[in-house]
Symmetry: C2
């Protein structure tokens, strides 16, 4: 199992390479929430999401000269950019219906793309086949000690930035798909901010972590669920990530697509930041009143900003505005 | 005339109050430009633009308990927010056709709004009338020593951030309306980055500073010009600002509305930042090939992000994309 020490070691590897993304604050949001809300702006990270952190931390520790990954997009971009910086060849297995901006961007980071049909092909099988044929190391999206530690550096920075501002963090809301980001951040935050209350935030139809926490064991999402949060659509919590999250999380919150669009619109208007649907769920939970921030200092993780223009424009149209 | 010392004094007044906005960098932009491009992200400043800097620096130095300003929007928001922080009453005279987001936001900062008809009323007369009736101090948008010094703190930070990253700035492109931002930044940059080449960037139909620099005296814009850059539409360069700019600028560049929309779209895709039309002109000049950045380290000032959703969505639609 990864530890806080692994997160610290990851931060050393990422020093001067990953960006120390800013912590944003909005008077309008503080007034709405009735507390102090600090937002970690990972859309400003290299490749537009936190995923670069875990990818670089992992790839910098492997001997293979090639890597392969399957991903709906943000992990793909992170792996592609990290591999290029480290002089390794990257092949990315992506669903043919992934947002165009993510496919193009992954290609622009120098990776080879292998598109697959979600309905007829298995990305796991394709990835394993490429790994076997070319000797490439498979870079998992979340269920890996090195990935979790790398993502945790976002939480480590967050804790230190709040401290630098003289604040004391009482709660954190963090987007959750496979759970790598929140697991890593929880390792850092629970150590550096004793007593902190950490909540996962998920799309309503993909509330596997919330139901798993309640049940005390890993449960899968019901089939057929829909969500605009393409970055968070995984079938079930990871094994490693869930072991950490069951121990360190206070609970989980769920949001609707409309909640998410309102949060994207709010970030546009008040933060001047482009946030993708999956990256906006924690802000969405706060704005929708799912979490009571009154009188508290609360961190919101904005985890990524890779969204197609048409999807973004849709979020800006009334009545999505706020 | 304001000096570099005034900019340093303004930075002291703004310490812990204005945000130290981040310097962004994009591999995609570096590759396109063939050099190193560093972007100062003033949309992340309080009130969504650099205007807060000059407003706070000025209002913190006046004795009156009320202030009045006329502005198309960003100066209005800066004055409103600074006045509130300093416990003074603000009245803002705004054109009735200003972007709705700017009117609403100014009101949300606690200011009283007086809308006027651009065609039938004089904002100067209205402002003077309010000042006389209420004893309020008029806060000018750019032609004031304290305003120029305050805006210059953006350039001071920029120079220090580039230095912190081990870079040496060779050129800077800065949006120019009345010229307060570029005049203040030039005081800082010409002192801290000897030999730097500083260019103003203006909308094509509002190239008064460019033509004035060429003529050696202040020239007005031709009547009837149109531009989506609402933040940059002034009739003529300021007196004080032009005195500084004629001494310190290398020249001026002009961009079209299409150039500006492409830059806004680029910032959306690659920087994940919301930039308003007037705030995007310097990036637009670079992307449109008006400035040769090959082999150089160049700063781009992104000066604000207050744009109506519909205008922003228009910039994201093809063929505005890049």
């Amino acid at each position: 199992m990864p530890t806080f020490g692994d997160v610290q070691a990851a931060a050393q590897r990422l020093r001067g390479i990953a960006r120390r993304t800013p912590l944003l604050e909005s008077e309008a949001l503080n007034a709405l929430a009735g507390g102090r809300v600090l937002l970690k702006a990972e859309p400003l990270q290299r490749t537009g999401s936190f995923k670069f952190r875990g990818a670089y931390n992992t790839i910098s520790q492997i001997a293979a000269t090639a890597v392969v990954a399957y991903s709906s997009g943000n992990h793909a971009q992170g792996v592609a950019a990290a591999a290029r910086l480290l002089g390794k060849k990257a092949t990315i297995v992506m669903p043919a219906d992934a947002p165009a901006i993510k496919v193009e961007s992954t290609r622009s980071h120098g990776a080879e793309i292998r598109l697959y049909d979600r309905a007829r092909e298995s990305r796991e099988a394709l990835g394993a086949e490429i790994a076997e044929r070319s000797g490439a190391a498979l870079i998992r999206p979340y269920d890996d000690r090195r990935i979790i530690a790398g993502q945790g550096t976002a939480g480590l920075e967050l804790a230190r930035q709040v401290e630098d501002q003289g604040g004391r963090l009482e709660a954190a809301l963090i987007p959750c798909g496979g759970g790598g980001l929140i697991a890593g951040c929880s390792l850092a935050l629970s150590t550096l901010c004793p007593g902190i209350e950490i909540h996962a935030v998920e799309p309503e139809a993909f509330d596997d972590t919330g139901r798993s926490l309640a049940a005390g064991r890993r449960l899968a999402n019901r089939p057929g669920g829909q969500s605009i949060c393409d970055a968070l659509l995984v079938p079930t919590p990871g094994e490693l990530t869930f072991e950490i999250n069951r121990r360190l999380l206070a609970g989980a919150l769920a949001v609707t697509d409309d909640d998410v669009r309102r949060a994207m619109s709010f970030a546009f208007r008040h933060l001047k930041l482009v946030v993708e649907p999956g990256g906006a769920v924690a802000l969405a939970a706060l704005l929708a009143g799912r979490f009571d921030a009154r009188g508290r200092t609360v961190a919101i993780m904005l985890s990524g900003g890779n969204v197609d223009p048409a999807e973004f424009a849709r979020a800006l149209r009334p009545p999505g505005g706020s």
